[in-house]
Symmetry: C2
Subunit: 182 residues, 2 copies
Amino acid sequence: MAKKNTLKYVILGLLRQHDLTGYDIKKLFSCEIGDFWNSKHSQIYPELKKLEEEHLITSRMEISGKKLEKTYYMIKSAGIDALDKWLSDPLDEIQPTRDDFTLKLYFIDHRHDQRIKNLFSEEILRHQKKFDYLSARMGELFSSRENQEQNFGHYLILKKAILRENTQLKWLKDEYRSLKNN
Amino acid sequence: MAKKNTLKYVILGLLRQHDLTGYDIKKLFSCEIGDFWNSKHSQIYPELKKLEEEHLITSRMEISGKKLEKTYYMIKSAGIDALDKWLSDPLDEIQPTRDDFTLKLYFIDHRHDQRIKNLFSEEILRHQKKFDYLSARMGELFSSRENQEQNFGHYLILKKAILRENTQLKWLKDEYRSLKNN
DNA sequence: TGATAACATGTAAATATTTACATGATTTAA
DNA sequence: TTAAATCATGTAAATATTTACATGTTATCA
């Protein structure tokens, strides 16, 4: 089996929604999309050129201000076909999380090792931040029923991520409390 | 910042628990460790040699049966130091999940697109399988309080993974039901 | 006893991803 | 008005990861 080249489909998916520059795509990864995908600009720009060579997308140049050149990419019908094909492919095996909190915790054996408490306290902070961010985005984007219905996948993934963070935070705080009381 | 080289610390962490061959390490990734880490043997063997060159681990040869050579690796004190250092480093930013169910769902806009139901049905299957596996492992490994106390990190990450799968499955099934009823 | 699965260890090549190097334009706020 | 932040786009080099190629052993079961 060929390596997955997921970024390709992420780009096609985003371009199906709107024409975008490489920079726009990069910025999207710092919103809630960043919960499930990220790529650096040094990977995005070459991938866009590759997709254009494959005739899945095309580009147009726009001048912004006096001379700033922005390259907008647009999806072509072959790109939509490739995206739809991918969407219908069966799901892979579940991938490992590669989460560093989990990884580190696994290697600490003793109940009373101070490092467990340290890990929990850090983990609570970073997930609280994430939960707050995702909740705010939910409020911004999906207060109205119409918005929910019209970007239903987007709505569902946000809902799922918020539930996950909420559950995890509750667990982390519970365990942290019981670690401190023993 | 240097690239993370997480496999290095995973190997050190595992070798702190027991002496292991490369093959043993590979097999561990197909147990519950696989929930948060995996590497192929083609990455493990070279990494072991690299760690030996760095004097973080050493090896001994054992003959199994008539002539099957097995190379067991053992952690050295410099390896333990490196591991402990890593365990105390602050956590990174939370990494994107790269989960293909989420990714695909995000790109489907319409509430009634049949592909949403297909995705949910596939996702429920693979997570049910995972939940069953993790629950079985919990039973095998941590029925007794002593086992829980003596591999506390291991116990906690299993507990966390099971809670995650359980919550997620419930959500998936709820949403799936409501998708079918509308 | 012969096939098959699992044990066991490696290297090579391709792809994916990150970090570092590079450059210039525009907006915003002090 | 100038400094800083952000916009905008790229390439090069290093590292990480996967896939494919390669080989031989041992245990199990038919």
